[in-house]
Symmetry: C2
Amino acid sequence: MLDEGIATCSSLELAAAAGVNSAKLRKDLSYLGSYGTRGVGYEVEYLSYQIAREIGLTQDWHIVIVGIGNLGHALANYSGFSSRGFRTVALLDADESRQGEDVTGMSIRRFDELEAVVAEYRVDIGVIATPAISAQGVCDRMVEVGIRSILNFAPTILNVPQGVDVRRVDLASELQILAFHEQRKAAPGPDIEESA
Amino acid sequence: MLDEGIATCSSLELAAAAGVNSAKLRKDLSYLGSYGTRGVGYEVEYLSYQIAREIGLTQDWHIVIVGIGNLGHALANYSGFSSRGFRTVALLDADESRQGEDVTGMSIRRFDELEAVVAEYRVDIGVIATPAISAQGVCDRMVEVGIRSILNFAPTILNVPQGVDVRRVDLASELQILAFHEQRKAAPGPDIEESA
DNA sequence: TAGATTGTTAATCGATTAACAATC
DNA sequence: TAGATTGTTAATCGATTAACAATC
């Protein structure tokens, strides 16, 4: 709506666009504050800004990527990051031979420079794109140097102290979920209720 | 438990391990069938097999990856796939110059060979790892040749006809969620209830 | 038989939604 | 003022869980 230059919208329109109930939409928005006007609706630009602020889109976040294999490369090149305020401040890899290698205009540094990087830049989020076997070690080191939010792509569960947030992206699970639905499409059992 | 050679377990033990309520665990398992024994518990191997079968872990799934950039490479090399029954039957890329290039012992084929691949192998799931701009075109073609389950890594929403399943992995969203929590850690508002 | 534990019913809890007073 | 639409209350719905009959 912002892109289309629409100035104002009702909870009904927003709900239709999002595919949810309008009462729920109003209730959810009310948790953020009272950003609408009775009888009028919501000002698109204002509401949009308030939501962006609430979810942290209005500030810049510094990330460090550890493990610059294929996945690390893909992450470093991912266009969706910078547009949402994520700035990669360092690419680290344990492999000494890769030190200095250029990735999208950024030079790969040795993993043991992590502490120096944190001193240099403030790091909000650490991204682990190493093989599973190295992931816990990398994670421990990240926690030691003060990183409290970690995104883990390695297919392993990380142990972290309280106060540290870990999210895991498990590529195989995503396939697994599709496979589950595929299986049901192929042979919907007699006692299974189908839903689109 | 299977790995540890434990033969039998109770719903209470399973619930503790999973971090859920035991009544809920029993109720959920009861949707699969009646695989426990009153007064005894569940036979680990038998239950494990039944769950694996239910979620489609006991069969092989054929996948095709389209877009063999860094992410496509990473997916082709991902060890977590084969261990869960996912077999990559083809790697496709629109770039002619990459045709024949070897990736983990598999040769890259041209995207317009998709139909031939489907005829050759049966394809259960198509994976899109192309730039956003090409994703919808690739998706349309996949649907045309009969693929009904699609995993999309491109940062774009795909339009598909009913009956086709799409899952999107949005790497930026994952960072966004961490950033949201990070923001709350840094400045928990006065009216915000914290939970670990 | 006595003890244990499932599968399921009924009670509880929380989330969703209809309805409406407040108010632009 | 009349019409519209928010923010919120109260009603509804569904999911979770306590409790227990069934049964090993």
